[in-house]
Symmetry: C2
Subunit: 701 residues, 2 copies
Amino acid sequence: IADVSPIGDFDLAAVYVSDAQYNRNIFFDTTPQAIRLYLLYNHWGLQILVYAFILVDLALAIFEDPAVVPLPIWVTSVIELVCLAAFTARLVHYAKVIPRERFWKDPKNICIFAIILLSLVDMIIYGALKASGFYAVRWSRVLRPLLLVNITEGRQLRRAFRSIRNALPQILYVFLLFMFSVLMFSLMALKLFGKRGLKTIEGRPYFTNYLEIVFDLYVLVTTANSPDIMMPAYNFSVYFAVFFITYILINTYIFMSVFLAVVYNNYKKYLKEEVRKLVRAKRHKMVRAFGVLQERKGEGEPVVSQACWNQLVRLVQPDISNAHRELLWSVSDDNNKGCIGKVAFVQLADLLNIQVIMMKSRPHPLKTWLPSLYLSSPSRLVCRMVQHKAFMYTYDLIILVNAVFIGLDEEDPLIANVEWAFLVLYLLEILLKLYSFEPRAFFSRHQFWNCDLSKYNIQLNCPFLSILDIVFILRILRLIRVVDNIKRFRAIINTLIKIGPTILTFGQLIVVVYYIFAMVGMELFKGKIRFFEANSTDPDKAFCGNPLLKNSVFAKHNYCKNNFNNVVSSFILLLELTVVNQWHDILFKAWENTDIKMFFVLFHIVVVIIIINIFIAFVLEAFFVEYTVDQSNLQSSLEKKIEELELGLSACFLPGYKTVDGLLQRMFEADLDPEDFADDEDFDPNNPSNLNFPNPNFDSV
Amino acid sequence: IADVSPIGDFDLAAVYVSDAQYNRNIFFDTTPQAIRLYLLYNHWGLQILVYAFILVDLALAIFEDPAVVPLPIWVTSVIELVCLAAFTARLVHYAKVIPRERFWKDPKNICIFAIILLSLVDMIIYGALKASGFYAVRWSRVLRPLLLVNITEGRQLRRAFRSIRNALPQILYVFLLFMFSVLMFSLMALKLFGKRGLKTIEGRPYFTNYLEIVFDLYVLVTTANSPDIMMPAYNFSVYFAVFFITYILINTYIFMSVFLAVVYNNYKKYLKEEVRKLVRAKRHKMVRAFGVLQERKGEGEPVVSQACWNQLVRLVQPDISNAHRELLWSVSDDNNKGCIGKVAFVQLADLLNIQVIMMKSRPHPLKTWLPSLYLSSPSRLVCRMVQHKAFMYTYDLIILVNAVFIGLDEEDPLIANVEWAFLVLYLLEILLKLYSFEPRAFFSRHQFWNCDLSKYNIQLNCPFLSILDIVFILRILRLIRVVDNIKRFRAIINTLIKIGPTILTFGQLIVVVYYIFAMVGMELFKGKIRFFEANSTDPDKAFCGNPLLKNSVFAKHNYCKNNFNNVVSSFILLLELTVVNQWHDILFKAWENTDIKMFFVLFHIVVVIIIINIFIAFVLEAFFVEYTVDQSNLQSSLEKKIEELELGLSACFLPGYKTVDGLLQRMFEADLDPEDFADDEDFDPNNPSNLNFPNPNFDSV
């Protein structure tokens, strides 16, 4: 009775499932040729290649003027042209995959197109101006990080930017109120302190210029100039401290908390909405895949047979083991009917995203080769000993003692020799464990802790950071193993590891913002401050090569390397500004004009008030999820199944998800209706390209 | 058919309702005599008196050695004895109210008893030692702030402390992990930088002593020594910056967020549990009150008649207006039956806690006295003009212009005269509004904004802070009125006002902790640093009277007034440490031994990591409630009733609650079952003193 689906249908269904699995929302043509092109477009190799080209493009800042490692203009230009060609090729490929009218409607394609075009124009203008000896600026470099946002793979990043953009109005209201409060307090400060003839430590008049007061009090919100800003008034009269205490309470504590509250609340609200859309889109794609493969058995509901399903899974994930696939099937087909309905089929995308390591628990190879020796009573004693908890504790203790020795003076030859003894002990541990555990089980369980290089004390001396240093660090990292053995700590560490991938999204967000600020900063401030090596005897060293900095805090604190002279030091300077402390000293006198203050205040608002708060909000939310929910429903039903089936398998779940969306989806799982297939009633399996596909609108930033 | 309850029953019921209203959980005797004593105990006058005595007791630190204003020992001792006598009297009063075995089971009574006893012992020892010329310490002063926690009225404070205590284990685990990370990074830092012979700006060896590294990196978590701590390594090689960036990312950003997450999560969890208990206890008390007053009409459910209810409300709140009382009744008796059942009766406590201002909308007095004049067309024009929005905007503009003039130089006689013009304008505004609005409505609506003293430029010159200064500040506060007129801002401001009362609880919490640290700090460090007035010519001034501070950052930054020489400067110093910035400079070299570091690290953990995070958690939660829920159910049903009844009343709800618990209860309203009367089935109205009263356990800290 069942119609066997043609091969082409399987390809299409596999693409739908794979899109659902990775939350791709691309509206592709469904002709077999277009599907093949689309599969190529999504090939991991090409994706990595695109990221590599973006990385090279961004890294060009290291070689362009002002450069860390100067290269001739023609070299960097050629590299940039190659990169641009690669982006163009990728864009053309994308245009072949999706219908033309769709291509030009999508703002992110237009964005990439514009970036490529503007970069070319900029390169031509720059080359022409330079050739004729004029001053020229490579302004298009500011656009480069936007590529990260607008490529098809930058989904998470786009989502983060959208969340920020949506939260902006609310943040703005609080910010205006906050600025109003700062302005009002500044007015009070002017009236209270302006006329008293007080002086700051540097001998400047204290609180006499309104705009300077506003800036100083803004800095006080970041706590960077506390208590210095208060001291002249406080030294004058203790009552004036009340002013500053009130200010700090209202603006530093209450308003900053309100910022966090507003950012948190809005971020959560919009993210929830996005995740809801995402899950609906995912279900739709799965319903489409189901529609392609479905068969009707008699009068019943349409179903997908196990054979079909197997072929599909093999297509979607060619490297899946048979045992793993059977496990997933038995979770889907809970009642052993040999076929599954729509609801069970839709789960597949999520099931494939749970990382399961399947291992046949097989006997130790020695047991097979030398059973008499391996099963003798001394050998058994060794195995029991190694498997005993005391063995683990002993080695924890050894690692701790080792840590103490690492801390001790290494010049002492005795201690250097003790280090060799520890090495022998660690080797012994590995051998003993290999002896008593099945090797594959041992390696998969300890893959993280045994991989450290600490056992190989390679003696190589680089000028600054030797491999020896890295080995030291790795040896110290071994201490983590001790902590990880304690259950309470492991729970916290696991949560930290789980939020790891999403921190990468924030990392990209930060890189985009930093890169833009660094490019602008470099054009504005390059060469204003010079750094002199420690052994330099140049008299300019005392003021970082800038006479304005004579006797300044900046020069006294040896801040000369905090400058915009190249992209690396710019990034580190921006990081210091993110940490906020001393930022007024870092920027204050060094940069001639006062417009620079706006540059830094803007940076503070964007990075500290918005992005860092979103980061905190994310960590908070992730921890709450970890504290309240223990495992997702699918994970626990998978585990139950493994126990039920007694498959002779030991499956272990890795903490973490294959995709970042996994964590997001879990965050809002409670709010998602598992049976919500929305408007899939009007979905026609014969025409999957109908236009009601409820794509979340993925516009660019 | 209905039995009329005797007078004594009303007293008892009123006490129950009042206890429910203010969330008092005191197990009192129910004899008429004990009830009278209990009513006296709860009299607001006595409560204020107790707080006044505690305030005096705490304020004694100002007069005791090391004193701000020195007083002879016998004076402070006599005052303290009077305070102790007052506390004893209060305790004895309490003992008379509740059963004896209950009294001695309650840890907070034992606590107060112990504090009184220990204070007496300490005073005797101190007096004896001083008289014989020995060195003596008033150690019992540390105990004084605990009175705030343990008096019957300190419910909110006890609850806050309990929440902290319950969250401690979780915080401890994260803290241990965090300290482990700091220790590990310190070990790495020792290995990476220790051998390179680097120097700090002060010329000390850089990162050579393990314990000092731990401390420095702990300070880096608070960002106080960023980027100084990094500069020597960064100047040496740019690669070393990676170490600090990793450290800041992990320990400053991730771990500090995790602390907030853990504190937030636990605080919320336990607070929810407490509020649940509180609401149940409140309902129980109301059920008891109902049990005392209930009548049976035929076969139906027991009810309370309107007459009974009226008498009860009049007893509970003697100052309630008839209109207000009728309004509350009509909300309770929604169907106009003339009597209410248990569920409606139980609401009473919450209804009484909603602040309603009742105003008869009556005609303007001028309309009654001079109708022909007041209703003439010019007079009407004036009224329409004043009531028009443009009038408000005009005055907003005037206030803004005034603000600009305030900012301008006042020496100029022209500007001083312009100020008089503004004064006239403000007076005109008040007169016009009094003319066109009914005076009572005007005053109640504008009570806040019209109360500022700004209209009276009293010319009094104190040495430091003149009344003129205060007038200036108040004039600037008028600007708030402008912002408050914008709807978006008002929502935020209202939320801030609503969380105001609870911030007072945190204020008390902070005072308790600060006081204890100040007392300990004063004993340990008094007199180590001296402050010299600006006109002093003492050569010791350059190093704050402590040779150890020669050429230190502390002396250079004029930090001499940051000392423990008296209770006021101790508090300000502790506040600076709470703000965290520069704390290592404030404490580092000034205090001889390194034990002081422990004192400050402990302070940081207690105040910044725990209390400030709880404060932030509270603000977050309060804002979420405000963003999601608009009004409590009771408030909206009250409003609906007012509209329905067209009572000829205009009621206005004040933002805020009569009790702090109101906000807390609303926070968790969604999670509370409105019909949950728990085990009130086994409640016997004839024996209200049965022992299953589900009191939340109110143990002391």
